[in-house]
C-alpha cells in the first residue's frame, strides 16, 4: 500500500510563550515521533492522557506547528509552514473532534455549519452545496431535514454524525478521529464504529484513530502505535500487538484494560505517569517499569525491530517475551 502520510523525528513544543515582557520555555509534548500511515488503513494511536497523542494529531493536521522533524503528505514535504499555510497545504487531512457537539457553533444551524466548510474550501455555488450536503447527510445516516436544526437539538450520536459529515464534505483522504467513541453508550458506539467502517470503504478514507479504549482499537485498527510521554514505545499490526506485546508499558496497558467477563488480576503500574515537565532520564518509562535496571536509567533505548512491521523501544524487550 502506498504511504499517505509520514512523520520523521517529529518534535512539538507546547506552551513556549513570547510575550512583550515574559519568555517561557515549553514542554515537549511530542518528542521524536516517526510513523507512516498507508493509504486505506486505520492507524491507531493509544496511550494515557498526557502522552501527546492529541498534540501529535494536531501537528499532523497543521493546527500546531512542529518544532522539529518533518511531515510528508503523499510524498511531498508539508512541514515547516505557518499554521494558516499548513492548513491550505493539508486540505486532504481533516480532524474530527472528541466532542463533536461542542465543535459546532451553537448559534448556527448545522446546515449552515456544513455549508461553511464548503465555502472555506472555495465552493461558492449554492445549488451545488445544497446537493452535496444532502448527499453527505444521507451517507452518514441522517435525514437532510436535520440541517435546519441547531446543535443542541440533536442527540449525541447525531452530533457525531454531523461532525463526520462536515469533514467528509471536504473530500479528505486522511481523517484524524480523536477519541471518536468517548462518552458514547455501547449501542451508539457500535453504530458509530460501523458507520466509520462503511464510510471508509465508500469514500476510500484512511483513518488515524486516537483512543484510549483498547477494546475498540483492537476491533477497528490495522496498525497500532503505543505512546508514552511523547514517544512511540511500540508499534505493530494490531493482531500482533495484542498477541505479543513486547514493551512492558504495552503489556501493562493491555493487562489493565477491563475485558468482558475476565477478572483482571495483574497488578497495575507503580505510580502515576510523570509530568512532561520532569521527564525521567534514560528510558522514560523506567521509574514505573518492572524490568528496569541500571541501563534503563542511563540510556535511552533506540527503536528495535521485533518482526516485520513490529518495532519496540526497550532495552529488555526480549525478556518480556
Amino acid at each position: 500500500m502506498a504511504e499517505l502520510i509520514a512523520a520523521r523525528d517529529l518534535v512539538v513544543e507546547l506552551g513556549a510563550e513570547r510575550g512583550l515582557l515574559k519568555r517561557r520555555a515549553g514542554v515537549r509534548a511530542v518528542d521524536g515521533v516517526s510513523l507512516s500511515v498507508a493509504a486505506g488503513e486505520t492507524f491507531g494511536v493509544v496511550g494515557e492522557s498526557g502522552c501527546g497523542k492529541t498534540t501529535l494529531a494536531r501537528t499532523l493536521l497543521g493546527l500546531q506547528r512542529e518544532s522539529g522533524g518533518e511531515i510528508r503528505l503523499e510524498g511531498a514535504l508539508v512541514s515547516g509552514a505557518s499554521p494558516a499555510q499548513a492548513r491550505r497545504q493539508r486540505a486532504a487531512v481533516q480532524y474530527v473532534h472528541q466532542d463533536p457537539g461542542a465543535a459546532l457553533d451553537p448559534w448556527w444551524r448545522v446546515g449552515a455549519t456544513l455549508a461553511e466548510g464548503l465555502r472555506i474550501q472555495g465552493t461558492t455555488d449554492r445549488a451545488e452545496a445544497t446537493v452535496r450536503i444532502a448527499e453527505i447527510l444521507r451517507a452518514v445516516g441522517l435525514d437532510p431535514a436535520l440541517g435546519d436544526r441547531y446543535p443542541h437539538e440533536l442527540s449525541g450520536g447525531q452530533q457525531r454524525r454531523i461532525g463526520l459529515a462536515r469533514i467528509l464534505l471536504l473530500r479528505p483522504k486522511l481523517v484524524i478521529l480523536d477519541e471518536p467513541t468517548a462518552g458514547l453508550d455501547l449501542s451508539v458506539q457500535a453504530a458509530v464504529l460501523r458507520l466509520l467502517r462503511d464510510l471508509r470503504d465508500r469514500f476510500g478514507l484512511t483513518y488515524l484513530f486516537i483512543s484510549h479504549d483498547l477494546s475498540v482499537v483492537r476491533r477497528v485498527c490495522d496498525q497500532v502505535a503505543v505512546m508514552y510521554l511523547g514517544r512511540i514505545v511500540e508499534q505493530a499490526p494490531t493482531a500482533e500487538l495484542f498477541a505479543q506485546p513486547r514493551h512492558p508499558y504495552t503489556r501493562a496497558l493491555l493487562a489493565a484494560a477491563p475485558r468482558l467477563g475476565a477478572q483482571a488480576s495483574v497488578p497495575g503500574l507503580r505510580g502515576d505517569p510523570p509530568s512532561l515537565r520532569a521527564i525521567p532520564s534514560g528510558c522514560r518509562f523506567h521509574p514505573r517499569c518492572p524490568l528496569a535496571d541500571a541501563i534503563c536509567a542511563a540510556e535511552e533505548p533506540t527503536k528495535q525491530s521485533v518482526a516485520a512491521g513490529h518495532d519496540v523501544c526497550c532495552h529488555h524487550w526480549r525478556d518480556a517475551a
Partner: protein, 330 residues
C-alpha cells in the same frame, strides 16, 4: 411483584433492598417516569453493579438511595429498605458512604483536603477530632496514598487524579458505613490507574464486610468488580443476576443486543435500532418493545413481570428463551 420476592431463595436479610420503586419527576414536557417498578436486593457484604446506558435512570436510582432526589421528584410507590428501614421516609446519615464520579469536581480547591473530610466526619461520626484524624491517616494508609501523615494538610490540587480518587474512597469509608455507593468512580481516570483503584475499592469493602453498590456503564469494569448485576433499561430492571451468568448468557433481548455491541464480543458491529425513549414518552407495556426484534403483540400491552430462571437470575421478558434473529446479534 410480590410473588417474585416470596420465592426469593436467599432468605438472609438484605443490606439494601429496593422494592418496586418508582420515581416520577414533573417536567415542562410532562410527567417523566424515570424509574418504574425497580426491585433488587444487595446482601450484606455483597457487590451489585447497576449498569445501563444514559437515560436508563441510573443516577436517579442512586439519588433515591442516597436520599438526595431532586426537587419535584415524587415517589408514587415502592420502598428503599436499608437494613430493614425505609430510608425514603427516614433518611440514614453516615451509614452509606458515597464515592462520586469525578474526583476533580468533588473537592473544594480552596480548603485543605483534611478539613473537608473531617467536617464530613464531624457531622456523621462519633468521636473527637483527634480520633477522626488518626482514623483518616490509617485509612490513607489503607488506600495507599503517599505520605499519609501529611496528606490531611495538603490542598486538593496537590494530588493527582488517581490520588484524589483514593482520597475520596478513604472519605467514603471514614464513617464505617455498611454500604458504599460508587458512581462510575473511574471514568475520569486512565486505564492503568483505574485497575488499581477498582482492586482497592473491592478489597477494602470486602475486608470490612461492607456492601458495594457500583453504578457504571462499562461492562468490563463491571466484571472486574461486581458479583451481581442489574441491567437497567428505561427505568426498569431488564436482567438481574450473578455477573458471570448475565455476561455469559444474557437473557433479556436488550441485554443480549447490548452485549453484542461490545467490541470484545461483537462479530459485526450492529448497534440497537432506534433510541432510548424519552422519560416523558415511555411506550406502554414492555419499554423495550419498539426496538425489540422478537416483540409480540402482548409486549405492547402488558408490563412484563420479572421471571426467575434456573440460576437465580431474574429477567423481565416472557420470551427470553426465544432466539434473536442472527442479524440483530451481528
Amino acid at each position: 411483584m410480590s410473588d417474585m420476592l416470596a420465592d426469593s431463595p436467599e432468605a438472609a436479610p438484605s443490606l439494601l433492598s429496593v422494592r418496586d420503586l418508582a420515581v416520577h419527576i414533573r417536567t415542562d414536557g410532562g410527567l417523566a417516569r424515570i424509574l418504574d417498578g425497580v426491585s433488587f436486593d444487595l446482601p450484606p457484604g455483597g457487590t451489585l453493579g447497576i449498569v445501563g446506558e444514559s437515560g436508563c435512570g441510573k443516577s436517579t436510582l442512586l439519588r433515591a438511595i442516597l436520599g438526595i432526589l431532586p426537587k419535584g421528584a415524587r415517589v408514587p410507590q415502592g420502598q428503599v429498605l436499608f437494613q430493614g428501614q425505609d430510608i425514603l421516609r427516614a433518611p440514614v446519615r453516615g451509614r452509606i458512604g458515597f464515592i462520586p464520579q469525578d474526583p476533580y469536581l468533588s473537592l473544594n480547591p480552596v480548603f485543605r483536603a483534611g478539613d473537608q473530610l473531617l467536617e464530613g466526619m464531624r457531622r456523621h461520626a462519633s468521636g473527637s477530632r483527634d480520633e477522626h484524624r488518626r482514623k483518616l491517616v490509617s485509612l490513607f494508609q489503607a488506600v495507599q496514598l503517599p505520605e499519609p501523615e501529611n496528606a490531611l494538610d495538603k490542598y486538593p490540587h496537590q494530588f493527582s487524579g488517581g490520588q484524589r480518587q483514593r482520597l475520596l474512597i478513604a472519605a467514603a469509608l471514614a464513617c464505617d458505613p455498611d454500604l458504599v455507593v460508587a458512581d462510575e468512580p473511574t471514568t475520569a481516570l486512565d486505564v492503568t490507574t483505574q485497575l488499581e483503584i477498582l482492586a482497592l475499592l473491592r478489597g477494602l469493602t470486602a475486608e470490612r464486610g461492607m456492601g458495594l453498590l457500583f453504578v457504571t456503564h462499562d461492562f468490563g469494569v463491571l466484571s472486574a468488580v461486581c458479583e451481581d448485576v442489574a441491567v437497567l433499561y428505561a427505568g426498569r430492571v431488564a436482567d438481574w443476576g450473578p455477573t458471570g451468568n448475565v455476561l455469559a448468557d444474557p437473557r433479556h433481548p436488550y441485554t443480549r443486543m447490548l452485549l453484542a455491541c461490545h467490541p470484545d464480543r461483537a462479530t459485526d458491529l450492529v448497534g440497537i435500532p432506534g433510541t432510548v425513549p424519552a422519560a416523558t414518552a415511555q411506550p406502554p407495556g414492555c419499554r423495550f418493545h419498539p426496538r425489540c426484534p422478537i416483540a409480540r403483540p402482548v409486549c405492547s400491552q402488558a408490563v412484563p413481570e420479572p421471571l426467575r430462571i434456573f440460576d437465580g437470575s431474574r429477567v423481565a421478558c416472557p420470551f427470553h428463551a426465544d432466539p434473536l434473529p442472527e442479524v440483530a446479534l451481528g
